[in-house]
Structures are given as C-alpha cells and as structure tokens.
Subunit: 401 residues, 4 copies
C-alpha cells in the first residue's frame, strides 16, 4: 500500500479529487451506524437544509446521491427529460464532451454547440437557436459551468438572460462539478433548474456523493419525464423525505458526517470568503504562468477559471512528461491534458480546501519541472509574480486576528 | 454530531451497514489522491484480481462501482437484458420485492414467483416454468441469495441444477448482498452469470461500492442488451481496463484502500474460516431464540440464514418497540421488521467482522429488552444456550495459539 | 502489526489501559501543532479549568504531566516532601506496594501499614499512629484510593476524619489512578492535598498524561520540599502558567485534544451519571461472580470496587490460564493476578468508557473460559444474575429519550 | 477546538513538534490494548532492536520512556552520575542552557563552557580542561549535538577525538533531540555513552516518548550512580527486559504502533537518504536566507545545521512579529527566537518528514512576511535560489522510478 512511498506530504493539485481538510478526515474516521436509527435522519435533515446554501437556493430540493459526478449528470437528465427530447449542449472540452456523450446514449436529440477547446460556450449560437425555436422543441439547455479540462468558466447569468430574452421555457441544467463551493454560483437568481456537483471537488470530501439540486420546475418535469430510471429516481427520495426517513437505500454514514463537517468549515470561513480565496489562487496561478512565458489554455480573460488553470506548453515539450515528472521527482500531482489537448496542456487544480502557501509550493515545483523538461524558465519567476499579488491581497485569518 | 451520545461502544447488529474492523477504519483514514497517478491503477489491478476470490470465480470479470446495492442490481440488469425481456424473480421478502420493483420499472416482463415471507424461493414453480419455456422466452432467473428481511437463504446450487436439468439458457442473476463473504458462495461452480454485493455488508466497509461480477456469458449478453445505461455501463469499465487506467470516472480513494484492507483481513482469517464463523454465530443466535421461546421467521431449517435472524414476537408485542428500546436504553441497534412483517419481526444481523462475545452482548441486550416490553423471558436463557454451543465450537484464534 | 489478528472487536477488560471512545480517537487523529502558537495555550487554559471538576476541587492547581501514573506518584512525592520525611503508607496490593517501593527509593522514612491482600487500609492503625505522633513527625499519609490489584476501594473520607480528629497536619496524598472519573472523589471536601490519575484509566485516553492536582497546602509544601526534582517540578509549570504559555516542555498535542474531547464526553454524560454507571457495572459483575460460585478477592462489602473486580479461582485452577485463554480463544483481555495473588486471581476491569452490553459480552466470555479450564460453571448463570439487576437499573439514555 | 480555523493545510515549520506522516497518523488511530498481552512484548522486542539502527549502535541498550526530551535528559544524567559529580557542559543556546540548569538542579558540579549564541561548543576549552584533569574528576562531558535555538551543529567526532587523545574516561552524554534521524549520528563509532532524542522531532511522531540509548559503559555506571531516581531508573526497564514483558509501567500503545510505522518509513526511505534529504533542505534554506540578504545566526559554515535555520533579522524588525504574522496571515508556524536571541532571530525548522515543495511553500511565505514587516526583500529571490539548488540535486523518488 505504500508501494509508492515518498517522504513528506503529497502535493495534490489535480482538479479533483482534492485535498480533504483534517477536520473532515477526522469526522469521517468512524464505524458504520444504522441509517434507520433516529440519529441519521436528524442529521440528514440539517444537511439537506444547509446544502441548499452552497447552491444559493431557497426553493430548490437537494438530493445526496451515492454516486459520482457522472451519476449526478444521469440523475439530472433522466429525471427531467424523455428519450428523443431535444437538448442544447455546449462542447468546449473533455467533460462537456462526456456529458454530451451521456446525453446521446440516453437517447436525447442533442444539439451540440461546439467551440474551440479553450473557449467558452458560444452563446450567440444559443441565442439564435432559441430565437428560431418558436415551437419550443428545445427541452433543455445543458451547460458545464466550469470546464475542468481547459480551465474555462462559462457565464451562467448570460445564459439565463438569453433564455429570458426569448421567453424560452427550456430547462436550464448546469454541471457545477468544478465550480460549486468555489466560484460564484446562484441557482435561484440565475434560474437554474438542475445544478449538481460531486463531493470530491470543491467540497473537499472523498468521492462518492453526487449532490444534485432541483428547482420546482425541474421537479414538475419529473412527472412527464419518460427516461427509465430507478437508482437515480428522485421520486424515491421524495417519498422517503415525506416519511422523514430520507433514504431509499443505504447512504455512506461516513460521507454524511464528512459533509456535515465540510459544510461547517465552509460556513465558518464564509462562502464569500471561500470564493474570494479561489479568486486569489486563480489570479496568482495565472500571474505565475504569465511570468513563465507560457500561455493559459483559456483564450479570453472573460472565461478564466479560478478553480483550474490549464497551461499550454511549447510544442517541443510533452505535457504528460511534466505530470509524470511531478509525481516521480517532486511528490506533486498535476492534471494531464485530456483528449484534444493531450500532450499540449497540463493543469493546476486550485480548488477546494487549499491555501496560498500550498499553491506557492506547487508553483515552485512546476518551475523546477519546467526546467527539468528543457523549458528555459527563470526559476523563481512565477513564485515571485504570485507572491507580489498575494502579499498585497491575502487577508488576515479572521479567527486569528 | 454527538447529539445522541451514549457511553461505551455502540452495539451495531442491523444486517447492514455492519461494523468496520479497526484496521479498515485506519486504512481509510487518509487524504484523497490523484486516481490517474500510477499508484491507483496498480492497486486496482490487485483488487480486481483478489475480489474474484470472494465470488469464487476465476472466469468472472468484476466491477467496483461507486454505488449501493440498488445500483449494483441496476447494473446487473441493464447490462444483460433489454426492455421487455422476461425474467423470473422470486418474491420472498422486502429486498426481493424491491428488486422486482426495479425490474418492473426497468421495463422487464417480470414473472414473479411469490412465497410466504419466511419461506425460501419456490423452486418447484421455477422448474415448471422452465419446463414449459421450450422457446426460451425466459431471459434471466433473478434470485436473492439471502433475503435480509426474513433471514431466508435460498439454495443456489438447486437453481443451477434446475436450469441445467432443463438445459435452459437463461442468465442466472444473483443478489449476494447479505451473503457474499459470509455464506458459502460459488459463482463458477454454480454457474452464476452475475453476482453482486455491497461494500457495507459482509465485506464490512462503509457504503459506497457496489461489487458486481459478470461471467463470460453475461459479458456476451451486454452486446445485445438494449437497456439504456451510461453510469452503470460495464463497457465503459472494460474500455478503461484495457487501457490499464481502470476508472471511467473517479472512484473513492478511501474505499479502494479500505477494500484492500478488508480483503487482506478476509484472506488472513481464511474465507472458509469466515464462513464457519458466520455459521457459528447464526447457530448460536437461533439457539438463543429457541431458548427464549420465540420463533424464527424462517419457516424451515433448510432456509435458515447465518447472516441475519428474523425473530417473530408474540402478537401482543410491537417489534418496533424492541428496536426503539434497544437504541434508547442499551445502545443497541437491531433491525426493524419491514413491510409485511413490520411490527411482528425484529432482526439480529450477525454478519461481517463480528465475533462471539459481541454477539453474546447483543443477545443479553435482547433478553433485557424482551423483559422491558413485557415478554416473560427467562433472563440468561438465550445466552446460556448460545454459550453452551459456542464453548464447544469456537476454535482457538490461529494467530494466537 | 496484525500478527495477532482476530475478527471482530477486541474485548478489552483489563483495568487499564481501557477502551477509548470513538469521539476521542477521532479528536486525536491529527498532525502535530506548534505548542507555542496561541491555539494551544488557549486550549490548555480551558483544560486546566475543566480538569479540576473531575477532582471536585476549586482551590486545587492541576498539572498535566507527560508521564504515566508512576511519574505522577513521583511528582506528588518529590514536590511536597524531603528525603528522610516520615510517611504513612498502606500496603494492600501490588500498586500500593509499588508506590511504597517508590517512596523508599526516594529516601522517605516509610511507615508501612500492611493488610491482607483483599482488605482495605487499616485505618485503626492510622488512628493510633497519628494519636501517638504528637510531635508531627509524620509528614504525609499516602493512600491508594482504589487498589487495582485486588479491587479494593479505601474510604478516603474516613482518612480525613481521622486526620481531623487528631488535628494532624500531615499531607494527605491520594493515588486516584483507578478511581478518579469513575468513583466518588471529592478533593476539596475530603481535604486531599495531592490527588492524581493517569490518562489511560477512567478518563479513557491513551497512556501518556499524568494528571496531578495540588491543594494550596501542597503548593506551600513545595517551598520547603528538598527532594531533588526537575522534570517533575511543579514550579516549572507554575512559572509558565504565570506567563500564559503553560508548558515548560513540549506536551502531546494529541493528548490535549483527546483530553478536551474526553472531558466533553464526561460532562455530557454528567459526572454523577458516570459514577452511577460504574456502580451499576461493578454491582452487575459482583452478582455474576456470586452466581458462578466464585469469591471476590475483596473481603468485605465496604471495600468493593466499582472499577475492577478481582475474582478468586479455586486452588485447582491457574488464573493465568484464564487470562491466556481469553486472549487466545475469545479475543478478550482480562487482568492477571499480580504478585501475592498471581495464579489465584483474575481481574475484570469495568472502568472508563464502557457500557452494560459490553460488560455482558465479557461476562459471557468469562463463563465459557471457566468451563474451558474445568470449573463447573453453569453457563449463563452470571449473565442472568447481571441482567436481572441491570434490566431493573439501567436508565434510558438521556440524549435519546 | 477549531477556534483558530484557517483553510488548507497548516504549514508547520517549527523545529518540533514536526509534521507526522499520514501512515504514522493512521497507525496510531486505534484503541488501547492490554500491554501485558503477548502482542505488545512481541512488538516491543522488534522496536528495541530496530531503534538501535537510528543511533547507529549495536552494543547500546535502548529505553523507550514515556516522557519528553527533558525527561530523557534527566534519565541520562541520573542513571549514570551521582550528586556532586563534575560535568563539562557547553552553553551555546537555550536548550543547552536548560540542560545545564537541569544538571545544576540535580546537584552536579557543572563546569559550564560558554560560547556566543551562534557558535558551536568550544572544544579547545574542552581539550584544556581534560588535559588538566589528570585525576579524572570530570565524570561526564555533556553536549547538545544540534542546538535548536541557534541552528548550530556540534562536531561529536571531534569531542570523541579529544577524549581519546587525553585517554579520559569521562562519560560522553549527547542530546540528539534535533539531530537523530536527521543528521549523521554514529553512537558506536563516536563512543557515545548516552544518546537521546524525543519522539516529536525527526522521528516525526507525537510528543511523549523519550528515546534513550546507553552504551555498556553507561550501563556499568548505573551501578555506582547515586542520583535518586525511580520513574527514570533504567534498572526497572532492564528487569522487565529480562522477563520479556518489557514495561515497568504502562506505555502508550499508540506511540508504540506509531514508532513501528515511523521506523518502517525511515528504513523504507533509507537512513542515508533521510540524512541527505535534510542536507538538501538545510542547504536550500540557507541559500534562500542569503538571497534575502539576511544572516544565519550560525556564525561559521562548520556549525550550520541541516535541521533548523535561525535567521537574524535587522535591528529595526522584531522577529516575534514575523512569527506572529506567519500564523495570523499565512497559516504558517515558524520558531521564535529564544532568550538571548529573542526578537532578533526567527527559526525555520526543516526536520522530520518534510519534503522540498513543502519547504518552498514555507520560504515563499517567509518572503511575504518579510515584506509585510517592512524588510525590503525581493519577492521570489529566496525561492529562486533554493530552486536553483534543488532542481539540480533532488533525486528521483526511488519507489516511483
């Protein structure tokens, strides 16, 4: 089990799964419990109430499903749509591609709006398609808030504006896997019908819980949605919610206690402070990339992501070698370039429970790796740029002032 | 979180989730890792190889799916069958009922063979149906090995014999949720096509991993199975198996290390010894029930279960009150009677990583509860009967001789 | 490390170290911290305040010393006495013997008052010695509250009465190692000058913290005490208390957090309830011993201990074999007979964070062992007697009503 | 308990207690056990054998004492010396000062050899004193291998050479608290009679175990040593070693398992590789300090320490403010300047289970703090210097090649 032992802490900078805070590891360090005892429903009740806050919704209904992000996607789609339904879906990177693939395999009629990898969703095309769709054949607009493969953040408020502008009734389904709890996210204000994330992303838990939130309109849609579903069926949950026992099947006791602790930490830090921290880490990373003379995969400032930065390497370098070397020499995990950007891009995840000095250690590591693989980086340059920004912007830790 | 605190160890005797051994809790007490680093595939490879041993298969292909038993069911069905396919499914208790419900909702044509709750599957009817099915309209025989609601163990070898007798090509799908790693289970010898369990049962892990094993015939069936599936699609796993990266989406790092530790403990004890231990605990429990003058819900000796005992209470007692009282007074969790046997039955789970003295503490607790609720039990009688048997049959602990 | 693996929970019934509650294990599951940061002094302050409650003192000064009970003894003696000082010390079992041995090696003039092992301290002799000591040559009366080797609890209030009766100024030094947090203990009311315990006893922590509390009179005595001491010198602590940094040398961060959690649990249960629980467990154990037809090593009811029961076996049985067999066959740890009672006595520890069903499991195990070693026990008899008492006396769990 | 919560990992860079590796935290995450069962002696035996390797001794006898470094000191002195014995002891910083204070309070006749704080032990004076001591009144030479307060490493081989040159029989007692397991240490080769360390230093465990190793000559000295001792008496250990039960009083079960894991990790990495890693980290830190334009407290290259670097700040800066700010703004713990160098020095601990990227994160943090407090550091300069060295010198991780 320690076949790959290396001294010191591992530096985990993939965009998920991310570092789990010690208090959460502690909270999960426990035996199983009977999920039918009074304790688990009592805790579940508070979790369902509190988890709504990370979606910024008061009207939504959350589901804590023992699955991954892929399962959360499937839950969002099958509960609200029927085979043959037309969806608009934006293809801008590997994760949006996989969601589209799922939509197609679930037999929807997917209208794919493609952009270059590194660009955001093309909302002009969305506008034109909605404008043309006077008979409302489009049943849902599906969008990945933050494309983890390219470090691109889409503008959800703009999507809502377009839907509103055309008074289009399509459902608005959002993958918030690498955004919720890290980027500004406003389910109610932006009129999102289904939003979802996975426990191992910005919530900083182990993998295993898909967290899905449905608007009243989405719940209404379940009544007509003909997609076959059992494990992912929200109605099974709703039935148990009504009974006050909450669980149609066995949840992970450990993840429930972990979620309780994770939410407590998020609220203790303050959600706005959490978002500001991600903003600082994202900005610092981009300044480092610039100082190294490298390009961000994200093509325009409006799309830059504060949870993951995809760095483009020069053609004479294989970005996979950078990732391999991080692991083999510096005990550092970086994200590979995926699919179209394989070999050309490596990714620095800076989401979840992570702080400035951790990031600076990672950036120093990246600098050494770049030198290792023959890129003429000036050692210290990225760290210097990041520090110059951070030293001006890191707030005092509120609990320690 | 400790809103329901009580001193001392909690006595967890529901038939799942069950007690996690300390070494497994320790193994899971860890941060996340990059599942794309070389470490996780290397470990996954050994897990997939070793997990076959708990199914007693060499030809099967295992899948470790981030889901629950319900999801494992869905995976077994949707990968091998098409909507409209005829299945034979035995209804003998709550869990077989739920599986049948799932089969119906997945649009199969379910031929339900019902027995009284407390009886095993009616294999005579199976025989007659197979005999009549000369055109092989029956595509699968679905059976729950151990019905957790009633403590009934079905005879899988007999099912195979009947299938063979009629040379029927139906797939043989088995829910081994409360049997695998605890009862005698022989996937290859009994010609089982899909077998499955959940991590929180006899494997003694947290909930969150559905462990499914498919025979070559089952894998062949995936090619024609038209059930819509994405998250549960085995082919996505097989694709990643071939690449050596193993995971189509993010697994729980903690559960992987936990599974490694759980398998190590099972092999250290020896699978045959594990099964013998469950046999001892089951027998001891039944002797206690008898000494109390109560009836086992299981109607015949041939069906008694070594993983869970469902105890029938006299009509003037509400079995739910027994469960409530266990929790409120003795820090003991027992299983409720479900559905048809609600109020009439309570259940003692004795599966997973549990030993004789733990069980005896539980039995002593049950005696006091029985007295509490007005049943004229002779205190000590059940423990005496169990001890008399155990004192003759418990082996020395091999590692300590 | 798992060279001695056995399935299920280990049943730990030695009178220390005792079972650690899960919330305490969790609280200690952490990295080190800088003990000079503001966090540790802030926590230490609350610990010192709260730890006084377990001694029932408001005027005492507590010290949390990184040592064991033996070190706590040494700290009590060397801070208050000078070589050559006359002490009265009661020899009633192995632990009082060891303390006397320490006193002698520390060069005090120890006046040993011996009783049969199984009897309490002979307070008549104390009275006569104090009466005779008109010139106050006796500097301290040293007594073990609960002799762990024989299960004998001494009457501390009576000691105080005798001291008061003779208006004798001797210091009153009490080993509360197996009593504090489990038996009624009143430092202020009984005029105890130094009381001490170890973390691994009724506080239910790991070993490593000697908890010592000194009365104002004891602190005054440090000014004239000439015993050489550095590591155990209270004045080094007092100096750091004044500075608000608290620690003259590095404490165990984990034990501090563990102590915080342990105290929280004790206060949540309520100290009086904790004592009542120990009383129940002690009584139940003694009833079982009686039902087995065996004798308690404690010779009179007035001395019976609610934290440990020493059971005398018939001459034809070697009590060590009972302990060995518990470990080798039933995964049960019992206490050996020590020194004078070696081979003749085995001990059941029932102190710390333990509950009724755990004890009943242990008692059932003891019955089987007794049978194993040839004692004609009626199986179930002890459990029956214990259950009969407990079923009438166990309260509902307050947090679950 | 999380009153001082800050997001992300805490950056612990005090020179003790240091970061505990995850596998060690896991190994310690456990319930208590009976230390008189066969399991603990069996483990203790391997620990005593293996712990000799970290001292590089085959002839020494180790003691694992439930105490801190201060207690380990006391154990070294009281077991080998008598009150009034003359010792030579070098005063070069706060920890050597404290040891001298202890020696004086234990009533030895301490011949203090003082140097400026920042210098190593004055071995010329040692030579002249030994030369003059033809009647061998000097019973022991006491030296701190690595003075943690000033980052000064003394030359132990040179001390041995001087002792040998004068054929002086004085005992050679060495505090290896911040050196053993991190710096080159050769007990047998250098003829050290007592060497000691604390668990929370380079062994990377929690505080609570003083690890002391005695040469045959030191054991011989116990026979005549008249210092009063009980808790720290080696003979009590030796008596139990002979019996094979090993423990005169209760050890911390958790620390034993932790030590087992810590030794396993050290041996897995290889002791020479561990020392080389500390050498790299020390060198990188010193290069950073130089790049910042600051001075190392250590006055000559021959004394530089690879486990802790004491950095001298300009007179217009209060070094305590640097430490405070690290904690309050960057979640970083640095070491304060102590006593004579209070306010003038801050310390970076780089010992124990720590790696390059962790250190670089710390160095980046120090740069920002320096800027915060008004020192005109060029941001990135220290990290650049460290990276330039490390990128050339960090080896590939052997387990991952």
């Amino acid at each position: 089990m320690d076949n790959f032992y290396a001294p010191g802490r591992h530096h985990l900078f993939v965009p998920g799964p991310v570092n789990i805070p010690e208090p959460v590891i502690r909270a999960m360090n426990r035996n199983n419990e009977d999920y039918r005892s009074p304790a688990i429903p009592a805790m579940t009740k508070t979790l369902l109430e509190d988890v709504k806050k990370i979606f910024k919704t008061t009207s939504g209904t959350p589901f804590l499903i023992p699955t991954t992000g892929t399962g959360a996607w499937e839950s969002a789609l099958t509960n609200t749509l029927s085979p043959g339904d037309r969806t608009i879906s934006f293809l801008i990177g590997q994760f949006s591609l996989l969601w589209i693939d799922q939509q197609q395999r679930l037999k929807f009629d997917v209208d794919v709006v493609e952009s270059d990898w590194g660009q955001g969703a093309n909302l002009d095309i969305l506008a034109s398609k909605l404008a043309a769709d006077t008979t409302h054949t489009i049943k849902a607009v599906c969008i990945v808030h933050n494309e983890t493969a390219t470090g691109v953040t889409n503008n959800l408020a703009a999507v809502r504006d377009i839907l509103d502008h055309y008074r289009h009734p399509a459902l608005f389904l959002v993958d918030g896997v690498s955004s919720i709890c890290a980027l500004d996210f406003r389910m109610d204000e932006w009129g999102i019908d289904v939003a979802l994330t996975g426990s191992q992303k910005a919530l900083s838990l182990p993998t295993g819980m898909g967290i899905v939130c449905a608007s009243p309109k989405a719940l209404e849609a379940t009544k007509t949605a003909k997609s076959v579903r059992v494990f992912f069926d929200w109605n099974d949950y709703l039935k148990f919610y009504k009974m006050g026992t909450y669980w149609p099947y066995t949840p992970s006791i450990q993840l429930l206690y972990g979620l309780r602790a994770a939410l407590d930490l998020l609220f203790e830090e303050g959600l706005d402070n959490v978002i500001a921290r991600h903003s600082r880490l994202g900005k610092a990373t981009r300044l480092a990339v610039e100082a190294w003379g490298l390009k961000n995969c994200t093509q325009k400032e409006e799309w830059v992501s504060n949870t993951v930065t995809a760095v483009v390497v020069p053609p004479y370098i294989d970005s996979s070698e950078i990732v391999r070397r991080g692991w083999k020499r510096y005990n550092l995990s970086l994200g590979l370039g995926l699919n179209k950007v394989a070999g050309r891009v490596f990714r620095i995840g800076h989401l979840g429970n992570v702080n400035e000095l951790q990031l600076l250690g990672c950036l120093a590591g990246v600098e050494m790796i770049l030198k290792d693989v023959g890129y003429p980086v000036k050692l210290g340059s990225g760290v210097a740029a990041a520090c110059a920004y951070l030293q001006n912007n890191v707030p005092m830790i509120p609990s320690r002032i």
